[in-house]
Symmetry: C2
Subunit: 205 residues, 2 copies
């Protein structure tokens, strides 16, 4: 029994690599969680299959242009407020299946958060590409990880199936957006705005 | 020239009587704006005609059940945090055309914010009805206003047309949700979460 793990308050951080607001949370959560005494589990998932059930075949920020225009301005304002780099990518949302499967395969690796932050910074901090195998290879190398076994893992059916299971689990927990935060008691918080309240809730429970 | 008015930073508060998050802002904005030195213009409008263009014939919180379940829990949590009463009404969203037209007609009246708060408290603080002429009559009486001329005004075509114009103006400013806040420089903020940042922005401009 891992007593140290049990003694920590815990929070699940569910995020999608295509989500701008997930970027804002990914860059802040470890620092804020450390201060709050909360242990975070990073859970990359795919929001697309959940929103597709609402009939949405792409991001709501593309489907609803006024909402999209607002989002880009809002994220820019928040990035400035947080002191984070921000550069709108040419393509939105980017297809991030390989990166997500690599992150799924790396669930138990200590470098998972560093990899995820690298993906987000490339995408929304620099406006760069994260889709191709070459992109993902570069991102793994950039954090000092040999890419070959992880790209191979991303092609394994057990990893693909685990990711499908994860999406299904998220849906069962009530997740419909990203980022989302789930406390040990099941309490759900949605959106980068709710990172601080979610941590405060987790610290109390 | 009204120098006193010019010397104040200003913020437009756009809200819809059917919106739970508008309730949370309506109950807080005057106090927070006073502290920030910002003069607020209360602008009741109808979000429905804007969302109808997206193909949404009712609230997204009804169209997308997981989002709706989350919203009710989130609003309940926030109401507790703000010390506001909260009671989920049997009907959601309520048809608030008469109340909105009365508020439109009362744009220049000093009691407009009091009336709007009364509507919101009846609806989301007590879970009561705000739709019928009798409901609106009761709400006007409750704040010490003789209801007859205002219900008559709500039936005048000039008021109906002014409300349609207002919705059109809101759409042109980029509004797609409620509450929204528009600063004098046109900067748009959406959602109860953005009340404080919107006031801070208005105070700087």
């Amino acid at each position: 029994m891992d007593l140290d793990r049990q003694n920590h308050a815990r929070l699940e951080f569910w995020f999608d690599f295509g989500s701008t607001y997930s970027y804002l949370s990914a860059m802040r959560i470890d620092d804020l969680a450390g201060k709050a005494g909360v242990e975070v589990t990073w859970i990359p998932f795919l929001l697309g299959p959940i929103l597709a059930k609402w009939g949405w075949q792409t991001s709501p920020f593309n489907l609803f242009p006024s909402k999209g225009r607002y989002m880009w301005r809002d994220v820019e304002r928040l990035a400035i407020a947080y002191g984070l780099p921000f550069h709108r990518p040419a393509t939105f949302p980017q297809f991030a299946l390989t990166a997500t499967r690599v992150a799924m395969a790396a669930a138990e690796e200590s470098w998972l958060p560093a990899f995820c932050r690298a993906v987000f910074v490339r995408e929304f901090g620099e406006g760069g590409e994260i889709t191709s195998d070459a992109d993902v290879t570069g991102l793994l190398r950039a954090i000092g990880i040999g890419p070959e076994p992880w790209l191979a893992a991303a092609r394994e059916s057990v990893v693909k199936e685990a990711l499908r299971e994860r999406v299904s689990t998220g849906e069962k927990r009530g997740i419909f957006g990203a980022p989302s935060f789930v406390a040990a008691d099941g309490e759900l918080f949605w959106g980068n705005d709710r990172l601080e309240p979610a941590l405060a809730h987790a610290a109390r429970t």
